[in-house]
Amino acid sequence: MVAQTQAQFTAALKKYYGFYTGGFIAFVLVLAVLEQLGLPPVWIGYTFLAATIALYAGIGIMSRTADVAEYYVAGRRVPAMFNGMATGADWMSAASFIGMAGTLYAAGYDGLAFVMGWTGGYVLVALFLAPYLRKFGQFTIPDFLGARYGGHLPRLIGVFAAILVSFVYVVAQIYGVGLITSRFLGLEFGLGVFVGLAGILVCSFLGGMRAVTWTQVAQYIILIIAYLIPVVWLSVKHTGNPIAQLAYGQALQAVAAKERELNDPATELGAREAEVRKIHKEKQAEWEAKLKALDAALAAGQGEAFYAAERAKVEEKLAKLQADPAADPKAVQEAEKALKDFPANVKKLREDWKKKMEAAKAKAGPVPAHAVAFPGKGAEAKLLKENPAATPEQIAAARAEDEKESDIKRRNFLALVFCLMVGTAALPHILMRYYTTPSVREARVSVAWSLFFIFLLYFTAPALAVLAKYEVYYNLVGSSFAQLPAWVANWAAVDATLMKIADLNKDGLVQLAEITIGSDLIVLATPEIAGLPYVVSGMVAAGGLAAALSTADGLLLTIANALSHDVYYKMIDPNAPTGRRVAVSKALLLVVALTAAYVASLKPGDILFLVGAAFSLAASAFFPALVLGVFWKRANQAGAVIGMLAGLGVCMYYMYTTYDFFGGSAANQWWDIKPIAAGIFGVPIGFLGVIIGSLITRAPAREIQELVDHVRYPSLAGDIDTRAA
């Protein structure tokens, strides 16, 4: 490329991406016209996914490179605003795009921990890390640990933690890609995973960070358009105001009024709800009895026999139906499915039953209020209902119980916000992005842009959740089963995990307790709820795919770079020629990607928990050593090693002893903190470890202290140079 100033480069980028955005909008409009002319929805889905993946591949091929600085840090000339967009796409995963609004729909105020946690972390990135890492100016996060603390050990621990955290996260992304491709293209899940993988690899494999950066900018533009348009439409429909974020206050009040009505058995709607809740209550009792029998069998060492008997029952039912020529084919299908999905062993059977019991229990209770913070468990209300003549002592005891529950919820909320924030400021694939700006100055501005672009989506999600709830409470509840809204009927037919609706009390009308909504449904169904043409649904799918692909790319690059740069180049063969370094990195990228895709295709059950856990792990391992490395000159190698190991160790230990997936139990919890927020213990221990470890050993060498001064000042006379070539 001809020598181009940074200003010219930025101007050119603005022009390209301006054209690109216009082109994308034109593309959507053309498809909309074709849809009106009769193009079937399946073709719209295919066109969208094929066109966007081809586009990413095109950018990837155009940005291919074998130059080390281009490959690892995009040549360090990504302007602040574009790096902000790339970081936004890098950051917002399939879970943010598709799952966030659904989580907020289900959890109300308590779900806001994710909204605050995943944005407020950028304050820590801006104040404590981004400008200093940019001045340091190498390639990876373990690079900083290695240079600041000296020796291979801190770097190696950094590599281990970076891979642990990023791998869990990338598996979840590839899983998300598989879900989207299988749902919208009708591919089999395993095949969908590998098709998505091809979409990921065309970018990162050929051009490393350079290709990933320019694709992520493109992906951000698609995902934000796809997210905002349906919400604007829905807002106009319900409130007459296109700015949903301002307008949903009214909807929220209407929702709260309806919640009160539904919980009041004296109203007509409330009475019907109570009827359905009674049915759920009976179901809950049924499952509890079954669980009790199972536990008794387990205690008597008869678990296997019990399991075999249960399985035989399901088999028998199917055989009976198959033998009966007059049987309803739908019932046969259901019985076949029940047998196919029957849990594989007695432990899984117990989990399955427990889940069903808890689902029934949740539906048997009153509707939780959306905006209320940390609700108690309703012990007082229950007591007064069951025993109107309760003594003041009984009431006080019930009230104390409610307060205790509420305080535990508040504690967990605050702890989770803390872990998500500190974790955000410690995820290597995000921090790495601030190596790519041209200067410290731009790095600072770039964090502001990053958060602004992320903010656009995150402050829309709570609005979408409330608007969707409004739709369900006012237009679905109380409507007749004979005339369900089209979107309900469509989704219930496609996927029962997303939308399930059944007339339990046989009154022909829909009650809230008769509806089950999966958390992914809200975003996916919004275009239909708002009455938009199918082309918008296709766009939303393309947006979700963009979110998953962009995050997966950033993560894969982080893992491959940790292995190729930190392990191979810095530790094994420091004399390796640059060509070989890039080649090794590409080969490792391929291996990691295939491994991750393989793991994702096994559909690991607890992937969502593991993603949440990644934040606590990253926070405990990296944050103390990185921040003290800049802000405390006395921190040394021994401190860093002890702090990182102790932080990570405590965090892993806590998860291991409290999370049931690992055989832990809630009884081991400290102050009732849930395992997902283990970082609340890991981070302080990490800080203590660095401080104590440093103080009991000698102060770091003079050169190290000079390195600290070097990163603190954007420019110093007679400065050392740590920039990597």
């Binding site: 304050v123 909807a251 929220l252 400065d719």
Partner: protein
């Protein structure tokens, strides 16, 4: 490399700014959430206050904090002569 008094002052100012902004971050995040039950009694334009802060208010404050920090520090670099040359 020798740090001058001016360099030290730059760093002190940076630490001061960082501390103030971090305190604001702490208040809008943790203090507001801690008192969420009480703050939710106040309703503005249909939004209970703590709900609004968690869903939008805190986010807006975060963006402003980062924007202000970038602006202030980039000026401070110039004032103390530690800014980078134009590329």
């Amino acid at each position: 490399m020798q740090l001058t008094e001016q360099h030290r002052e730059y760093w002190r100012k940076n630490l001061g700014l960082t501390a103030v902004l971090l305190a604001i971050w702490f208040v809008v995040t943790y203090v507001v959430s801690y008192f969420a039950r009480e703050l939710n009694e106040i309703v503005i334009l249909g939004f209970p206050l703590a709900f609004y802060m968690g869903a939008q208010g805190a986010l807006i404050v975060y963006v402003l904090i980062i924007w202000y920090y970038a602006r202030r520090m980039n000026r401070l670099d110039q004032e103390y002569g530690v800014h980078e040359g134009e590329e």
